[in-house]
Amino acid sequence: MGNSFSMLMDGFQTAFTPTNLMFGLLGTFLGTLVGVLPGIGPALAIGLLLPICLTVNPTSALIMFAAIYYGAMYGGSTTSILLNTPGESGSVITALEGNKMAKAGRAGAALATAAIGSFVAGTIATLLLAFGAPALADLALTIQPAGYLALIILAFATVGTLLGESRIRGLVALAVGLVIGLVGADLQSGALRLTFGNLNAIDGIETVTVIVAIFALGEALYLASRHTLVNVEVLTMSGKAWMTREDFKRSWKPWLRGTAIGFPLGVIPAGGSEVPTFLSYGVEKAISKNKDEFGKGAIEGVAGPEAANNANAAGVLVPMLALGLPTSATAAVVLVAFQSFNIQPGPMLFQTNPEIVWGLIASLFIGNTLLLVLNLPLIRFWVLLLKIPSHYLYAGITTFALLGAYALNNSTFDLQVALVVGFIGYLFRRFGVPITPLIIGVILGPLAELYFKRALQISQGDWHILIAGPFPKIIYSILLLVIIGPMVWNFKKKFANKK
C-alpha cells in the first residue's frame, strides 16, 4: 500500500513535466472533440487518434491516451444529452434520461451532473485502480498458463453472452473475432493460416484496423443502407451548465452508488459498460422518492449511470494493466496502444515499466480534473460540433478512419482489410450482433492459444493440466455460474424493452 502511494507520487512527477502536461491537455481536448461527434464512441475515438500518439515518446503518448480515454467519455455524454444519439452502449441510459431533461429545458443541469458525477466517480475509481491493480498484479504472478487460459475463457463467455439481445449473437461475434485472430503466422511454429499466399497477411490483421473499420465504416454503411439519416435536432441550452443546491442534493448519492456499481463490474469481465449503467439506473429508479419522474427526465437517472460508466472505465483498466486482459472494446484499444510501443501489459508491467504505468495512472487523475475544468465552460464550443451536417460528419469519419488504417503500416492491404471488416460491421448491425465480442476475440484469441500451448508444454501434452490446481477450478466454477447468471440479467432486457 505504502509502496503504491510513493510510486503514484513518482507517477505524478512524471506526468507533471510541462511537456507531458501539455500532451495531457491536448489529449483531453482531442478526446472530447472526437467523443462529442455523434456516432463515435470512446473505442473508435481512441482508435482514430492512435496514429497521432505514435509520433511521440511512449510515456507522453500514454499520458495523452489516458486523457483521451476520459475525454472521449465526457464528450459522449454531452452528445447523448443534447442529441439523443448514444455513441456507445454505456451512454444509452444517459441519452434516455438526459435527453428528456434537455427537452424540459434542464440541459445545463443534466450536463453538469454528468460532468461532476464523472469526475467524482473517475477520481474514486482511479484511486481504487492505483491500489488494486498492483495488488492484482502481485497475485497474478502466481497464475500458471492454465489459469490464464481459464481467465480468458471466462472473459469470452461473459463478454459473449452478456452483451446484445441474445446469447447466441454474442457468441457469433466472438467466433468471427477468433477467426480474424487466426490469420497470419503461428507464433511458435511459423505455420501460415488463412493467408492465401498474401505476404501482407503473414503478420496478421492489425487490431486497430479491425476496430476502426468495424465501428466507423460499419456504422456508415449501416446508416447509408437504412437511408434514415435525418439531421437530428440539437437541443439548445439556455443558461449555464450548472446545478442548483437541490440538484446537488439529489445527485451526490447516485454518484457514489454508481461508482460502487461501476468499478467492480469493470474489474470482473462483465462485458463493458452496458450492464453497470443499466443496473445503476435500475437501482436509482427503485429507491427514488420521485419514481414518476423517471422516464421524463430524473436527474438521478443521469447522475447514477454516468458515474457508473466512468467508474467502469477505470475498472476495466485493472485487468487490462495487471493481467493484460482487456474486457471492453475501449480497454482493447488501450492495450493495442501499449503493444505498439512494444510494452506488454500484464503482471510484469509494474516491475518492468513502473515509470510508464504510474505516469499513466497519475495522468488519469490529471486528465479527469482538467476535463472538469475545461468542459463545463467549453460546452458551447462542443455544442457547435453537433451542428455539423451529418453527410459531412460521416464523410469525415469514413475518410479519417481509412487514414488511420493506412497510416499504421503505410500499406493498402490494411485498407482492403478495413473494407471487408467494415462490411462485416454492417452485417452485424443489420442482424443485431454485438460488436465488442468480436474485438475481444481478435485480441484474446491469439493469447488463448499461447497459454493453451504453454500449459500443454509444461505437462508434456497431458490435457489434465488445464483443470489442475485450485485456480482454474475456481474460474471454471464461476463460468458455470455465469451460464446461469444471464437468466438473472434477463431483467435488464425486459427493462430495456419497456422504455
Binding site: R169, V172, V176, S189, Y392, A395, T412, K453
Partner: protein, 168 residues
C-alpha cells in the same frame, strides 16, 4: 417449405448464419492444408484453429435454428417489433465505391486526390447534392489532413500528383 414462412429479413439472416457455418468449414479446410514446419512442438499449430473452426460452425448452426424458429435479430437502433426497413443497396454501393476508389487510388494518385473523392462520395451517398460546396469541403478536408499529417506529425502519406509541388 420452411423458407416460405420466414420473412425477407429472415432470409437475409439465414444467409448470414449459413455463411458463418461455412466459414467454420472453410477454416477447418484451410487448417487441414496447413504446411507444418519441421520440429514442431508438443501442440500442433492445427489444434487451436480446429477448435475455432468447430466453434464457428456450431455457433452458425445454432443461429440457423434460431432464425428458422423465427427468433430474428433486432437491427441496431431499432426496437424489437419495428417494421423491417429494406436496406438501400444503391446508397451502400455508392459508399463502398467511394471507399474502394480511395483504396485503389491512394498510392497511384496520392492522398489528396483519393481522400477528396472518398469524402465527396460518402457525402453524396448520404444524400448531399450541393456539388460545388461538397467538392470544396472535400478538398479542404483532404488538404488539411494531408498537411497536418505530413508536415505537423511527420507521418508520410502518398503525395501522388503533388510530388515535388509541395516539396519533400
Amino acid at each position: 417449405m420452411i423458407l416460405q414462412k420466414i420473412s425477407k429479413q429472415g432470409k437475409g439472416e439465414l444467409a448470414f448464419a449459413g455463411s458463418l457455418f461455412l466459414l467454420g468449414i472453410f477454416v477447418a479446410w484451410d487448417t487441414s492444408k496447413m504446411v507444418i514446419p519441421q520440429g514442431s512442438s508438443i501442440v500442433s499449430p492445427q489444434t487451436f484453429p480446429y477448435m475455432v473452426a468447430a466453434f464457428t460452425s456450431l455457433v452458425g448452426l445454432v443461429l440457423i435454428s434460431d432464425v428458422l424458429r423465427g427468433r430474428l435479430g433486432t437491427p441496431d437502433g431499432a426496437e424489437p417489433g419495428d417494421p423491417f426497413i429494406a436496406p438501400s443497396y444503391k446508397t451502400m454501393a455508392i459508399l463502398m465505391a467511394a471507399i474502394g476508389l480511395h483504396v485503389i487510388l491512394l498510392e497511384i494518385a496520392g492522398y489528396v486526390v483519393s481522400a477528396t473523392i472518398c469524402f465527396f462520395g460518402v457525402s453524396f451517398a448520404f444524400g448531399s447534392r450541393k456539388y460545388l460546396k461538397d467538392f470544396a469541403v472535400s478538398l479542404i478536408f483532404a488538404l488539411t489532413v494531408y498537411f497536418s499529417f505530413t508536415k505537423g506529425l511527420n507521418i508520410n502519406l502518398p503525395a501522388g500528383f503533388f510530388e515535388g509541388v509541395f516539396g519533400k
